[in-house]
Subunit: 398 residues, 2 copies
Amino acid sequence: MTDRMTEELTRGVPRPTGAGELFQLLRDGRPRTRADLAAVTGQARSTVAARVDLLLSSGLVAPAGEAASTGGRPPVTFAFNPRARAVLAVDLGATHARLAVTDLAGQVLVEHHQPLAIAEGPDVVLDRVARVGTELVREAGREPTDLVSVGVGLPGPVDHGTGRPTNPPIMPGWDDADVPGHLGRLLGVPVLVDNDVNVMALGEHASTYPEVDHLLFIKVATGIGAGIISDGQIRRGAQGAAGDLGHIAVPGGRDLPCRCGNTGCLEAVASGSAIATALRSEGLEVASSSEVVALVRAGNLAASRAVREAGRDIGGVLAACVSLLNPSLIVVGGVVAEAGEHLLAGIREVVYRRSLPLATQHLRIVTTRTKGRAGVLGASAMAAEHVLSSAAIDASLG
Amino acid sequence: MTDRMTEELTRGVPRPTGAGELFQLLRDGRPRTRADLAAVTGQARSTVAARVDLLLSSGLVAPAGEAASTGGRPPVTFAFNPRARAVLAVDLGATHARLAVTDLAGQVLVEHHQPLAIAEGPDVVLDRVARVGTELVREAGREPTDLVSVGVGLPGPVDHGTGRPTNPPIMPGWDDADVPGHLGRLLGVPVLVDNDVNVMALGEHASTYPEVDHLLFIKVATGIGAGIISDGQIRRGAQGAAGDLGHIAVPGGRDLPCRCGNTGCLEAVASGSAIATALRSEGLEVASSSEVVALVRAGNLAASRAVREAGRDIGGVLAACVSLLNPSLIVVGGVVAEAGEHLLAGIREVVYRRSLPLATQHLRIVTTRTKGRAGVLGASAMAAEHVLSSAAIDASLG
């Protein structure tokens, strides 16, 4: 074979050292001896020993004490060491930012929440993110070189391949902005970007429901969107637009006009904004989703009724999602979910009535328990996965 | 480590020979030299040579001529040999069966179509399938030992893990029938079972659109169902019920009663049966989906109008699917799709109007080109995959 052919055949193909694959076995955190690893993989003891040495040299795996002896010197065990490096997790909303520095297993080391208007544009916002992020790494007691990657959730559609926003409606100045390039230049590490709802779905899955392979996360706030976990992975679809259920027509829903130009869209009838508008038409003074939630919590009957009705409309669309995707768990988040049982009751009423028994017999519908942290937890998981995949480990050690 | 611990740690974990992984590279059918394979994998020439020998001994890989020489003796190339074995592909409908013997790349060697009432029950039907299948293997000029697996599509919900039907509405006597056990005993090879629509989706993907990672297949016949390919794989959901869109409520649809107990389900307003019922109420004599199609083809205006209207209702549900899954291709199959452009025109009209531009700008909507063979092609792909995965190859050679 000519050199040219070799080059053509090998272009872009990482040469696996095998250490990356071995590392995936260790990611569950359970300590194992070299003999354990040889037994599980069927590889020669010498091969395993060499790969463990590579992983030890990286710091990603560390000695974890001695195993019980069966006679003779007790063997050493090894385990994933998530504190070896740190990632920066960034959750940007329309008017706020939440940043966290976490270890490689999503443990939050330090966290920061501040008002930040996304409308100030990418230059101002990303410069501030880099500045605050650098400060947080220091606050966490880590060296700047410990930071290995950054995960960012943005409140609008993102081309996942390039990490650039695509015509985001509430992010003036951000269309096609090179977010990974900009932050990468400032922080010197890879930057992963996705829309906020996908990132929240990842966060729910990684932090609270790692054993659930089919999970649908729905965010009900000023807008409505969903993130889909299927067979354990986030599914983004052909253009990264999967989960965009805010503009699905509600079956039997009211024919209200939507900003997208159609009528009867889920967002137009059941979002926080839609509920606020409906309540204003009943003479209540309510400007935002948060104020809707406050009214419900204060026991206002009209607000409770409106939220439950919105839940039914959301349930109508979620019933279609259940028939189509057959998830075993739906997690409801976003500010309107803080209204509590009224929203959930409306959703459950319609989903269980409108879906087939086979799809709902094991279906749970719950509200998020991440207390506003789903975004940073998902951004952390996305950033950590980027440096901990088999291919990434092999590339870094190769 | 004690033997007991070793056993616990290794239970169910195949010892990879590495040959399975090497084989995946060769599955595209392109001839490669040992040096090519060493270059692509980064493995030692001696390792590659040993693995190639294992694959040659299995017959799954065969010499494929000589590469161009760069001086000296020209090196031998190797390629996947899909004719090394055969699989039996079975597509069972309510009243017919289509069986095929194919090679491991889905090439049909011999095919058979016969009337067969699924209502005769699993014993009668599966005995006949085994008898006809055995005969077809002989007709294809293959030895009985060449048969390595069987793929079966059934017209009802199937628990993919066990291969057993789950309360199938049009398959009396089949609930929880051990289809893989029964056929496996008669034919002596593994049997994979899924519902007909998932199998048809696999067939479309494998035979016609292997490069499309996000594909939705919808079958419009007596009933309506869909199969979902996402990130290149069929997605079955938590209970294998994914894609069951016949009972999604049509937005703005007519409030007709459905056999499931709800009203306004897609099947109740737009299936072949529903169209036939509507046409009968207009005084036309039409008993089945096929007769609807025949009327359309004969130029009957009422039938054409009814099919187009059904297309719009289907489009209303598919628009939700597009927003949720963001596929790049929708393939419409089933007998009603044979009515031609009327159905497709109705679907397109609503999908493009009711979905967001980001999700539809690269979306194609087409009718199947497999001429009734999607089922057997998918059953073949499912059966072949079962014996050609890395793990299966390693297990057979280990």
